[in-house]
């Protein structure tokens, strides 16, 4: 039986967390199919130990292909490599992350490998009758859930929403094979030149990878007041989100925007402050585990969709919340914080 594959992601010197989330998904599928799980790693300067972690967290085999020319993500080159590996090993299923990389690479590969692809899945299963992959994803702003199959073509491919599953605990007794795939010059497409990389100045912007996101909207009244959100975010160790209105007013940069024309996120906690809860904002947070909100308008839509919401003035509620959390923390540590 052909294998289930996951595509690991690296940032140059380490594996990204989402690589392990994919393995948790892949492990379940491989066990149901009674086949093996392999993880493919393209590029990066990764050590033996780092690759072993893929095995400890669920992989049976790791295919690693490395070369300086592969360190930066260039879709044409990565696509060529993956298509070649698919031709060589004929996997049953490939899971990649629904990140900017996965959502660029996999559609490209779906043409090269002549097969289907389902975007941004939040649930994956095996059809017990046919052994086919059942790929479930939110569509139309999270208002419907569609289950999709790739009945005739192989591999069956899906990108998986980051944070929609938890990695398995590392089991250091697990054993597996690390296979180095020889690099060939012909893999490098060479048409596109990578000129550089500019890091975001603010660190709390990676809202898709964050466990918690504290978000501010027009209710903050002015950009400077994002300081309150920042304080709360520091307290929760959270990333900072924003509504479109806050972004369009120039209070915070676009990478922070949550919603239909921004990012779709699935954190454990989404904390909306001074956000009304428009359809377009909700489109981005449908798969958040828990939604908490503060809004002073009792009629605001956000109160209808939050798990826990406070009708109140954020300028009073939030500073007091920080104080109380600090007091609580002190009590818990016997005052020795």
């Amino acid at each position: 039986m052909s294998f289930v594959w996951t595509l690991a992601e690296q940032d140059g010197t380490s594996l990204k967390g989402v690589s392990f989330e994919l393995l948790a998904r892949g492990r379940t599928l491989a066990d149901k199919l009674e086949t093996k799980l392999a993880s493919v790693v393209i590029g990066g300067k990764l050590s033996e130990e780092q690759l072993q972690e893929l095995i400890h967290r669920g992989a049976d085999e790791v295919y690693y292909i490395k070369n300086d020319a592969l360190d930066d993500f260039v879709v044409e080159t990565y696509s060529r490599i993956l298509v070649k590996l698919i031709e060589q090993y004929d996997p049953h299923t490939i899971l990649a992350a629904a990140t900017t990389t996965g959502r660029t690479l996999m559609p490209h590969v779906s043409i090269g490998a002549d097969t289907g692809l389902t975007a941004d899945c939040t649930d994956l299963d095996i059809d017990p009758e046919t052994g086919q992959l059942l790929q479930t994803r939110p569509a139309i702003g999270g208002n419907i859930m569609a289950t999709i199959k790739t009945p005739y073509k192989r591999p069956q491919m899906a990108t998986v929403r980051p944070k929609s599953s938890r990695p398995l605990e590392a089991d250091t007794t697990r054993e597996g094979k690390i296979i180095e795939v020889p690099f060939e010059e012909s893999f490098v497409d060479g048409r596109v030149e990578v000129l550089g990389y500019r890091h975001n100045e603010d660190e709390d912007v990676d809202i898709q990878e964050a466990e918690m996101v504290i978000s501010g909207g027009r209710g903050l009244k002015k950009g400077d007041n994002f300081e309150i959100i920042r304080k709360l975010a520091t307290r929760f160790d959270a990333a900072i989100g924003a509504s479109r209105d806050a972004v369009d007013r120039g209070w915070i940069s676009y990478p922070h925007q949550v919603g239909l024309s921004g990012k779709t996120i699935s954190p454990k906690l989404y904390f909306a402050c001074g956000i009304s809860g428009s359809i377009q904002q909700l489109a981005g947070i449908k798969t958040a585990e828990t939604i908490v909100a503060v809004n002073n308008d009792p009629e605001a839509n956000i109160h209808k969709i939050a798990d826990f919401s406070i009708v109140g003035d954020l300028f009073e509620v939030l500073p007091r919340l920080i104080e109380k959390l600090d007091e609580n923390g002190k009590k818990a540590t016997g005052g020795k914080s």
């Binding site: 879709v75 900017t100 490209h108 999709i148 790739t150 497409d189 550089g196 209808k304």
Partner: protein, 265 residues
């Protein structure tokens, strides 16, 4: 420079109503509009046209009424359009849609840039752009947030990725998919609207080009939707009031207890 902009017509998210009982969406009779994320690709095309000079062709695949979306793009400053409309195109997934769009682009006399929206707000896949680049075998930059330089034979862009921006130089022709940061869409002008009304929009059917029949529509689509369900919104919906000092203390105690119970603090 010749620019091609594929756009999709989608239901208007502003007009969609929520069923107050189930918290789900009611789509009946919702008006169709240009995919809001395609307004950014259209505007980028128009901005490049103003700066460097260009002719812009809009392509839309959909029912006959999608001609309206093309006219809207023309009223914003695009030059002409092609409507891809045929029952045989119906039921296309991203593989078949991108095949049909790519074949249409190949049939044009020349193109330098193809600009896609990041994703369509109904299907939400964002796959058609990268797939089309693969069919055309033309370099791709996805999630483009700025275009920094355009020369006769190349284009420099910044892609918005996790944690920052990747800067690329691509030879032309190239395919871009763009995010909101790329441009500020402008309303159609009166003269634009007049021009849009006058412009003839040809309809291409499955017979208009040498399409491979087996690649079209549902038949050409490797994926199948097997089930659709409307998720019930199952949020707990606890609302507490913090309208005075005492209320605030009580509300926050409840909130902190709730967060602790969920292991969020």
């Amino acid at each position: 420079m010749n620019i091609v902009i594929p756009i999709k017509q989608v239901p208007d998210s502003n007009k969609v109503k929520m069923d107050p009982e189930s918290g789900t969406m009611m789509r009946e009779g919702v008006e169709a509009v240009v995919n809001p994320l395609d307004l950014y690709s259209i505007q980028l095309g128009v901005d490049l046209k103003e700066k460097y000079g260009a002719s812009i062709t809009v392509i839309s695949m959909g029912p006959p009424k999608a001609a309206k979306a093309i006219r809207e793009a023309i009223s914003m400053g695009c030059d002409d359009g092609i409507l891809l409309s045929d029952k045989k195109f119906g039921g296309s997934d991203t593989w078949a849609t991108s095949y049909t769009i790519a074949e249409t682009i190949k049939s044009l006399p020349a193109y330098d840039l193809v600009i896609f929206g990041e994703r369509a707000t109904d299907g939400d896949t964002g796959q058609v752009g990268p797939c089309t680049a693969a069919w055309l075998d033309v370099p791709l930059a996805s999630y483009v947030a700025s275009v920094d330089a355009v020369t006769d034979d190349s284009i420099e862009v910044e892609r918005m990725v996790e944690g920052g921006y990747q800067k690329l130089r691509l030879p032309k022709p190239a395919v871009l998919t763009v995010v909101k940061e790329i441009a500020a869409p402008m309303l159609p002008t009166l003269s634009g609207k007049k021009r849009a009304r006058r412009t003839e929009i040809p309809t291409y059917t499955a017979e208009s080009l040498p399409f491979e029949d087996a690649n079209l529509g549902l038949k050409g689509s490797p994926t199948r939707v097997v089930k659709i369900r409307t998720p019930k919104v199952s949020r707990e919906g606890r609302v507490v009031h913090a309208t005075d000092g005492e209320g605030t203390e009580g509300a926050l105690d409840e909130l902190i207890a709730y967060l602790k119970e969920k292991e969020l603090v």
